[in-house]
């Protein structure tokens, strides 16, 4: 029988950082991931990680305020204070583990500017910061001899007496189901970009962790807050980092104007992401776009600078579009990139289900509120990944392991067998592509009652079709047809939570911009939406609200 003190679902930055911490604390730790750790989507973070380093003149409260303003005052300020004040140590620690951050002439860590901040406090490794940190955390995992269930797919959480005590998981390479018991489970399973199309997200970002926790009774908080990144490539949705603008790139419309000067006179191209994406979409909607895009212009930075500091961007532009950034501007447009919403946790990563913690993109602490600042996601993963492990280590001192019964495993076996036995009918891919396109239409950069109702209808349609999805592949070994069908169930839950949360919020705030209610309404809506799984309610969702924690920054009008 598989049994551990701590089981971490997901091996990206949050999961591996939690694993390293729990291992250091002397616990029996395992990580379970549907892909090898170095394939995790943390790889795709390009531009950097924010940290106010107080030993060189920055102050953490400055970063906290930028984060809170960026969140359009929806972030919980106690959580932001923790993130900002722990950021310096978190980044220094990564450097000491071996991350090759870029440095200044003095041999100390160097920075670049990022959006929503006037101070340059983003630490980086070219345009591969996420990948560089992920590989170093994996090195640390190897150093500590971490147990990894590699290419194992979690199908269910095991809940006994209201506590989370393990998971049921499918070993993808053999097709066999197993129970893995643990005194505590940390969910670090990443985002859900695949609920939309196109998206910058990897094919693996299907909201598994969100849906698993949701079904166990944890609310998803602020799910309407979906970030559209301002610079993604047309057709494929591949990301071009904000680092380009951080290093001085311009955004141009079809008339060659730097339109951001008009929308954000002080921050220009480096306003918050929601602001820049709306500005771009406005230009496009008003006829100053180029085939639905605007232009990102790096030419004035020069070839050497581009290749040195933004090498990966050049690689992507050349390989995928055949555009040399030193010679030609590249067409970009807003694209789904990140989900601010997530499993509601406290500042220690704990959810309402004892024994279940969450960290990283699948969690909502909440430090990003209605709009995340670029380079705050990596910070979020390492700060709250570590904290969740520390707290989980305390928690397990007072609890026993689960029963070890085969009941959960057998229930999952029966469920999957019935899925495998269905007669060929609906194909998961057709359902996914339909849903994802409808979600992008309905829950866009701009949205209104009608568009969101459209997305809700699409999700209903999807849920009607779900029982008809059949598995063409009847084999056991590496049956991705089965995995994708199970992921489709997770994505439908996440989509459901998103549309109901979006329809609940009757104001415009951060990424949730309604063209039919264009103002922020602090009097009625300075609060979080909480979407609960509730089979008795229409569509199986119940949306409640809860207050936002304000410590010392009173909400004011947000101007860039």
């Amino acid at each position: 029988m598989y049994k551990h003190d701590v089981l971490i679902i997901g091996a990206g930055l949050a999961g591996l950082r939690a694993a390293v911490e729990a291992t250091r604390l002397g616990l029996d730790v395992a990580v379970i991931s549907k892909v090898h750790p170095v394939r995790s989507h943390s790889n795709a973070a390009q531009g950097g990680i924010n940290a106010p380093l107080t030993d060189r003149g920055d102050d953490w409260e400055g970063h906290a305020l930028d984060t809170i303003k960026g969140s359009d005052y929806l972030a919980d300020q106690d959580a932001v204070e923790i993130m900002s004040s722990e950021a310096g140590d978190a980044v220094i620690e990564l450097e000491r583990m071996g991350v090759i951050f870029s440095r200044g002439e003095d041999g100390r860590l160097g920075t670049r500017r990022f959006g929503g901040q006037l101070v340059a406090r983003t630490f980086f490794v070219g345009a591969i910061t996420g990948s560089a940190i992920l590989h170093v955390l994996y090195e640390q995992a190897l150093k500590h001899g971490l147990n990894v269930y590699e290419e194992w797919f979690v199908t269910d959480l095991i809940i006994e007496d209201g506590r989370c005590v393990g998971v049921v998981a499918l070993d993808i390479k053999t097709g066999t189901l197993h129970s893995i018991w643990a005194k505590t489970v940390i969910m670090a399973a990443g985002g859900a970009g695949r609920v939309f199309e196109p998206s910058t997200n990897a094919i693996i970002c299907t909201g598994d962790g969100l849906a698993l926790a949701w079904r166990a009774g944890v609310p998803m908080m602020d799910m309407e807050m979906v970030q559209y990144h301002p610079t993604t490539l047309a057709r494929t949705g591949i990301l071009l980092s904000e680092a380009a603008r951080g290093e001085g790139a311009h955004l141009l419309n079809s008339e060659g104007d730097r339109f951001m000067l008009k929308y954000a006179p002080q921050y220009e191209e480096l306003a918050s992401r929601d602001v820049v994406s709306r500005s771009e979409q406005t230009e496009i909607n008003e006829g100053r776009g180029i085939d639905g895009n605007v232009l990102l212009d790096l030419r004035h930075l020069g070839r050497e600078f581009i290749e040195d500091r933004l090498g990966y961007l050049q690689e992507v532009a050349v390989e995928f579009l055949g555009i040399d950034l030193a010679e030609q501007p590249v067409p970009v447009r807003p694209g789904v990139h990140y989900i601010m919403g997530g499993i509601k946790t406290d500042v220690d990563g704990a959810t309402v289900v004892p024994g279940l913690y969450a960290a990283g993109e699948c969690a909502n602490v909440s430090v990003h509120g209605a709009n995340r600042l670029g380079a705050n996601s990596l910070l979020d993963t390492v700060v709250f990944g570590r904290r969740s492990a520390v707290h989980a280590a305390e928690y397990i001192k007072s609890v026993d392991a689960g029963s070890g019964s085969d009941e959960h495993l057998n229930a999952t076996k029966a469920r999957i067998q019935s899925l495998m036995d269905r007669e060929p009918n609906e194909n998961w891919a057709a359902v996914r592509n339909y849903m994802a396109n409808e979600m992008t239409k309905g829950i866009g950069v701009f949205r209104d009652q009608a568009s969101m109702e459209g997305a809700k209808a699409a999700i209903r349609n999807v849920n009607e079709r779900m029982p008809n999805i059949a598995i063409q592949n009847k084999g056991k070994v590496f049956n991705t047809d089965l995995i994708f069908s199970l992921e489709m169930e997770f994505m439908a839950d996440v989509g459901n939570a998103i549309v109901h949360s979006a329809l609940t919020r009757k104001e415009s705030r951060g990424a949730h911009f309604r063209t039919d209610i264009t103002e922020r309404d602090d009097e009625n809506w300075l609060k979080h939406t909480l979407a609960y799984h509730d089979p008795d309610n229409e569509d199986g969702v119940r949306v409640e609200t809860s207050p936002v924690t304000i410590t010392k920054w009173e909400p004011v009008k947000r101007v860039y």
């Binding site: 790889n43 990948s131 592509n433």
Partner: protein
């Protein structure tokens, strides 16, 4: 555009080890579509049993290494138009030198075992009292070549040494080792070099075929990293290897004769006191004589070989100043 793909299939549940089947697919694709786009379309619309790995679609996660027309590539950054012409068929197979799990999915366990073998983590004797390690930025930027490695396995797939010698640590793991040898924050440089110099399958087993440099999708150039470690290992005093003796004998012979003295090279590489190896060589020598392949005992000199000697002397004096 209209494209034809021929895909290698293997199902461990119905086929024996080493067997395979070829499936052909004809499809209409966007002109800038990638090989991965095509495979995903097959998986989603034609044949849900096709197994492959992929995730980021943006050449950063390293999942989708495969052989396209016989050469290892990341299929997410391989455009159909770049690997085919009208009317030709694109051939897609799993990577080489890795065991096949199913269709295009290979086992990377041996790959990561070898990465583990080089102690792939920073080992400083002590950490700074406060803040980060203070080191020169150029020394950090130097490491980026190897940090670009995404562990896709393409170099291992097409490595000609691994094809015949499973013990070779291989290009990816050795590039990873280089990254720590060159890191000024690491205090195990000498120990690492000594180990890589002596261990079976270490830095001297590369045959410099350039294949890993050619196929690496991230310009890591593993072979160059291996050659640099050979130099570093020698400079650090690791001279008791056939690799070092081979290098020395090679250069001594060319300097003196303007030509390679193959007979002496073999003996000197083995080392004059390496009796078991010399006995092996004697056997090879006898066979060579019988087949008329024995190199001359007294080497022929190149015409005007003194000019070559002068080149050597000049390079050596420049290096010493």
């Amino acid at each position: 555009m209209n494209s034809k793909l021929k895909v290698s299939r293997f199902d461990p549940e119905t086929m024996g080890s080493g067997q395979r089947r070829w499936d052909e697919f004809e499809m209409d694709l966007h002109p800038s579509a990638t090989v991965l786009d095509a495979l995903i379309q097959i998986r989603e619309e034609v044949d849900g049993t096709l197994a492959l790995r992929c995730a980021c679609r943006a050449s950063i996660c390293g999942s989708c290494g495969m052989r396209v027309n016989g050469e290892a590539k990341l299929v997410c950054k391989t455009r159909i138009a770049d690997v085919t012409e009208e009317g030709t068929t694109i051939v897609i197979e799993p990577m080489g030198n890795h065991g096949i799990i199913k269709d295009l999915v290979v086992s990377l366990d041996p790959f990561f075992d070898k990465v583990r073998q080089v102690d792939p983590y920073l080992q400083p004797d002590e950490e700074p009292e406060q803040g980060e390690f203070v080191v020169n930025n150029d020394s950090m930027e130097n490491l980026l070549t190897a940090m670009n490695c995404i562990m896709c396995g393409a170099c291992v797939s097409d490595c000609t040494v691994l094809e015949v010698d499973e013990a070779f640590i291989g290009p990816a793991a050795l590039a990873k080792a280089w990254r720590f040898v060159e890191d000024p924050r690491d205090d195990q440089r000498d120990e690492r070099l000594k180990e890589l110099n002596e261990v079976e399958g270490g830095i001297w087993d590369c045959t410099r075929c350039f294949k890993c440099v050619e196929v690496c999708p991230k310009d890591v150039a593993p072979m160059d990293r291996i050659m640099e470690m050979r130099d570093m290992a020698i400079e650090a005093g690791n001279r008791n290897t056939s690799g070092y003796r081979h290098t020395e004998s090679f250069s001594k012979s060319v300097k003196k004769h303007g030509r390679l003295d193959e007979a002496r090279l073999a003996v000197e590489s083995a080392g004059y006191t390496n009796i078991p190896r010399l006995i092996d060589l004697a056997e090879i020598g006898v066979k060579s004589v019988l087949k008329g392949k024995m190199p001359p005992i007294v080497p022929h000199k190149a015409d005007e070989n003194e000019k070559i000697t002068r080149i050597f002397e000049r390079v050596e004096s420049e290096r010493n100043t």
